[in-house]
Structures are given as C-alpha cells and as structure tokens.
C-alpha cells in the first residue's frame, strides 16, 4: 500500500530557472530535469525533507508580468492571503488556512503540539536574532490564536525515550534485531521503506513523538478535559515538511480517529500569528498546558542531531545501572559531522552507538550493516543536515552564508534550553511517571505508541 505524496512538495515551472542547486541537497536524487529547464520532483523517490525548499533562490518578481499573478500562486500553495513574503520556485503546499478555519469553529476542541526545534527558530520570522529561544512567547502566541490546549511534542519526546529505551534494552538483553534505528524522522522511515525494506526490522517500533502525541490527545487528553474524542482536533507545528506526510499515513489512527489531523510548519505558524495581528515580540512568556505539555531537557534536545541518542542514553544508563549518570552532558554524541560513533559504558555493558545527520551519510552505514560489518547497538538517523533545527519547514534564511550561523545558534540554544530545565532526564518527568501510573498499560501502550512499517518496493 502507498501513501500519496503528490502535491506536498512541488517546483513551480514558471519560476524554476533550472539552476539545479536543489539537486545538490536532495538526499535521494528525486529532482529531475535538464539544466536551465524547470525541474520536476519524482514523488516515488522524494522523502519530503524540504531541503530543496530551503536552498531555492528562484523567487517570483513582483514586477514580472509574464507569470501567473501572486494571488493565484498563493492559492495553489494554499497560503494565507495575508502573507507578504516572496514566493520561490520550490515550495510545499501549506495548511495554515485549514488551521485558521478550525480555530474559529467552536464545535471543535483544538489541541496543538510543538516540536522541539520550533522554539529556537520561530522568532527569526519576527526579526529576532537567528536561533532565538522563545518557548514562552510561542506558547503565549498559540493560546492567543485560540487553541484550547497548548501541549508539547517534547512531552511525547520524553515518552519516546521511555519506550525506545525499553525496546533497546530488550533487544540488547534478549537478543533482538540489532542495531536498532531511531524512528522519529519520517523522511528517514520513508527512505528505509522504499530503499532498504529488508532493514525494516531494525527500525524501532516506536511511533514518532508527533504521532504518540496525536494518539494521546484523542484518548488520555480527551479524558483529562472530559471532552468527546470525536470533537478533538489535533494540530502539530513541525520544523519538518515530511510530518505532513507522516500524519496522513493511513495506519496513524490508533486513537480511533486521525491521530494528528493536520501538521503545519514553523513558517506557517509564524504566518498564522502575523495573520492574527499578534505582536509576537511583545508577548509575555506563558507555560504549556499540563499534563501533555510538561517536558524535560532530554525531550527538547530531540531538535538537534544526536539529541535522541543523548536523551536515550541518559535514561538507559540510569535504568540499567540503577545509579545516577556521572555527567548528563554526553558531548561525545554531539557535533555536526555526518556520522559520529561512540562507545558508551553502561555498567558492565558497552553500548556501541552511531549518530547520522544528513540522509546521504547513512547509506555507507546501511551497506555495512547489510554486509554484517557494523556491530552497533543503536543508531540515530536524522534526514536534515544537522537534525530538525535545520528542517525543511524551518524559517528560510535569506543570505546563504548566514545559514550555517542560523543552524549553529538554533543548536546551541537547544542545549542551553536543556541545561536550564528543572528535569533533564525523561524518566524524571513527573507527568511521564503519572501517565504510566494512571493511563498507559501493556495493551494500549502497544497500539497507541507503537506501529508497523510498510515496504514500498
């Protein structure tokens, strides 16, 4: 079975000059066309990472008469009419108008979640310095927009660690398929499904934090607020274009409904905030709502490459050794190199781990595994250059040589945020403890938080 990816990422034939710089960043060579001619996207190959959207500089000139009018293009792209920013050849179809409609529909109970990487980038769209950290203003803005509950993907990031951590320990101790791959990056998952189906068993069965959150919103979340799950409308704000695809995967309805009804990007949220006339920079800091908005430092570093690994190790160490980890800052898995490996002593067991950033870099690793030449226990893979902070849905940097700067600042502030959190290990998150006591039990854990994958070849 296949999921339609058509129309999520497109290249505007009128605007594309055929410079083909996008082919340089596409990890799966999905962009086809002659040099100097408009390019097209091979939807079978495309993993929807959106890096082509980030690099494209072929903008629509306001003074150019021989192209379709801006209004028409914005409609095609499903953008809010109030958006003023320039349009580029490579784009993704948005969902901001959908969300805007939902927010004025009183018959619905709206719940929103925000990915870790969004809070270190969204302020850029309001002229703040690159990588500014603004979780409080973001929460405030979401409440001002009218969401009934402002929850956080960081909570389910913590939850992912609990599940994935346990899964890893099981696989290692009871001899499961190793190495185990992380499964939070939907582009990576799609890539395995279409290019390396034989390695699917290596993928962690855990849903991504977005989908865990979705499933919980319409079950546990609905209970908490005593609302009818059918009336809950679940929105996610992601640094990622592929999340739009992930939430549309047919199987993602274990709550009995679409776990996530719609995913919008960081840029789209900024557009919604501007559209509503909210002065983002002037907003007071506000908290995320309990219980599904409470998170630890471990949850927030999911936004940076190596973050999932670091968070997992913090928890795994303490669960296995039953003693406190000497230093929570596991610098050995941080960095920007495409492939980083480390041996981590956990009690008398040495965990061999690898962290991969940039999908192209994973291929040699996968080939090594197929050839039986890689004896890792656990591998984190993120499709985008330095993880979600550099995602295809993140604010697009105007001057190319400032992009590296943006990525560094976003990453740094992600770790700054972690260091300033009261709790920095997922298993210490009080709401996580609570949800395992009050709601999660053997059987619903499995169908709400875990999933199966589909070979696409």
């Amino acid at each position: 079975m296949t999921v339609k990816t058509e129309g999520i990422i497109k290249i505007d034939k009128e605007l594309c000059t055929g410079c083909r710089r996008c082919t340089g960043v596409c990890p799966v060579d999905a962009i086809e066309g002659e040099k100097g001619q408009p390019q097209t996207i091979n939807v079978e190959r495309c993993v929807l990472c959106g890096q082509c959207v980030q690099i494209c500089s072929a903008y629509a000139s306001a003074f150019d008469e021989d192209i379709a009018p801006r209004e028409q293009k914005m409609e095609e792209r499903n953008m809010l009419p109030s958006v003023k920013e320039p349009l580029f050849a490579s784009y993704y179809t948005g969902h901001a108008p959908t969300v805007k409609k939902v927010l004025v529909n009183n018959s619905l109970f709206t719940m929103v979640q925000c990915a870790p990487a969004v809070r270190v980038a969204i302020a850029e769209e309001f002229g703040m310095p690159l990588g500014s950290l603004t979780p409080g203003k973001m929460a405030a803005a979401l409440k001002k927009l009218g969401f009934n509950r402002v929850y956080d993907t960081n909570f389910t990031a913590d939850l992912t660690i609990m599940e994935e951590g346990n899964e890893l320990i099981k696989r290692v101790t009871e001899g499961g398929v190793l190495p185990m791959f992380t499964s939070c990056c939907p582009a990576w998952v799609k890539f395995i499904e279409q290019d390396y189906p034989e390695l699917i068993p290596h993928l962690s069965s855990c849903k991504s934090p977005q989908q865990m959150a979705g499933a919980l919103f319409k079950t546990y979340g609905a209970q908490v607020d005593g609302v009818d799950a059918a009336k809950v409308y679940s929105v996610s704000v992601m640094p990622c274009v592929c999340k739009k695809f992930e939430c549309e995967r047919p199987e993602m309805k274990d709550s009995g409904y679409r776990d996530v009804d719609v995913a919008i990007t960081t840029r789209e949220l900024a557009q919604l905030i501007k559209d509503a006339g909210i002065d983002f920079n002037g907003l007071p800091e506000e908290e995320f709502d309990k219980p599904l908005g409470t998170y630890t430092g471990a949850g927030t570093i999911f936004g940076a490459t190596g973050g999932v690994m670091e968070a997992a190790l913090r928890t795994a160490y303490e669960l296995i050794t039953k003693q406190e980890i000497p230093d929570v800052n596991l610098k050995l898995v941080r960095g920007v190199e495409g492939v980083r490996t480390a041996d981590v002593k956990v009690g008398d067991l040495t965990l061999k781990v690898a962290v991969v950033a940039g999908l192209k870099n994973v291929i040699p690793v996968l080939e090594a595994i197929k050839a039986g030449k890689a004896d890792f226990h656990f591998i984190e893979v993120m499709t985008c250059p330095v993880g979600c902070v550099s995602g295809g849905g993140q604010p697009k940097v105007l001057i190319p040589d400032e992009q590296a700067n943006a990525y560094t600042n976003r990453t740094c502030n992600t770790y700054v945020h972690d260091e300033n959190m009261e709790y920095r290990k997922s298993h210490n998150n009080p709401e996580i403890k609570k949800i395992y006591e009050k709601f999660l039990v053997e059987d619903n854990i499995h169908h709400l938080l875990h999933t199966k994958y589909t070979p696409r070849r």
């Binding site: 000059t17 500089s57 850029e124 557009q271």
Partner: protein, 195 residues
C-alpha cells in the same frame, strides 16, 4: 587630476547557473529591515542587478559605473553623481523622470517604489485617479547598483554566488594582467615570425 577608473561587478556567463541568489542577496542587503529569514520580508524583492535568461545566455546584468555615465549626464536634476569612484543616485533629488532608464545602454537602471518600514511611501501632493477615487501615489525612485557602498565586506552578489561567477573588476589591474599575459605568451610566437 590622476583619474582612477571606477570599479564594477560583472558576471561570467560561462559560470552563471541563473539561480538568482545574487538578485535576492542584493535586494536583502539594501532593504531597511534587519530580518534574516524570508518571513521577515514584507516588501517586494527589488534587486539592483537583473538575471537575463534566454536560450543563448544566462547572466545577471548590472551597472558598469561608466566614467561618462550617460544616466548622470542625462539627469535633468543632477540626482546622479560620482562619489568615491561609484556612480550613485541621490534619491532625495530624483523626480522619477525615467530619462536615465532611456540613457543607460545596459538596462542597469530601474524605477521602483520607495518603501519605509515595510510600507510604501506616498507623495504629498500627487494623487492617482482610480475607479475607487483619488488615492495617494507612491514615490518612485531611480534604482541601480551602488556596489554595496554600505556593506562592510563588499558587494553581496559576489559574496553569495554559489558558482563564483561574479567578479569585481578593477580596470587598471585587469589591463595590467592582460598585458603581462599577452607579452609572455607572445615570446613563443616570436621565432616563427621574426627569425
């Protein structure tokens, strides 16, 4: 007066891939907003160099900072002068007469609306007659390459070009380099002609 020739930026059509990164960067560094991401751009992109893309050629075209700048000599209000070896427009003086656009043989001169803080600036007196009545008319200004006079690290177009296709030409240096190359290359052909 020991005349130093004005430098200018020119692109190598063999290298240019037509990505428009130069146009974008040009517009951005000249905008009054200090936003760094696309979302912060609220005014139209108004570059001072222009990508030409046809079947024969792909390259951006911009001002050559002519020594006898036809635009300046054509300007009826002396709004264009040479400052520090650059041909610059004094926007305060410009009346939007478009003579410079007609005078420039490169099409390097443009006429664009004036924006301030993301808002188009309108004129005090002049109104436009439209179907919804009289509306204030925006201020229009002559618009051309200023060699990024306010940029600490030089012309943005050169900086951002992924193919390094743009180059700042310092005429006398180019001439000298070519002279030396020509002389050196000529050495070999000598014996075949003179001896």
């Amino acid at each position: 007066m020991n005349t130093k020739l004005n430098s200018f930026v020119v692109a190598d059509p063999r290298k240019c891939i037509g990505c428009k990164a130069c146009e974008l960067a040009c517009a951005v560094v000249h905008a009054d907003s200090d936003g760094k991401t696309v979302g912060t751009v609220e005014t139209p992109i108004m570059p001072r160099l222009f990508l030409v893309k046809t079947a024969e050629v792909t390259m951006p075209i911009q001002c050559r900072h002519c020594e006898d700048a036809p635009c300046a000599n054509a300007c009826p209000v002396d709004a264009i002068s040479q400052v520090d070896n650059k041909i610059l427009i004094n926007t305060e003086a410009c009346v939007g007469c478009k003579t410079c656009m007609m005078a420039c043989p490169f099409g390097a001169m443009d006429l664009v609306p004036k924006y301030k803080d993301g808002q188009v600036v309108t004129q005090n007196g002049l109104m436009s007659e439209t179907e919804d009545g009289l509306v204030e008319k925006e201020v229009m200004l002559a618009h051309k390459c200023d060699l990024c006079v306010d940029q600490p690290n030089g012309p943005a177009c050169i900086r951002v070009c992924p193919e390094k296709a743009l180059e700042l030409i310092v005429p006398k240096q180019v001439k000298r380099k070519r002279n030396v190359e020509a002389a050196t290359n000529f050495l070999d052909s000598v014996k075949n002609f003179f001896d």
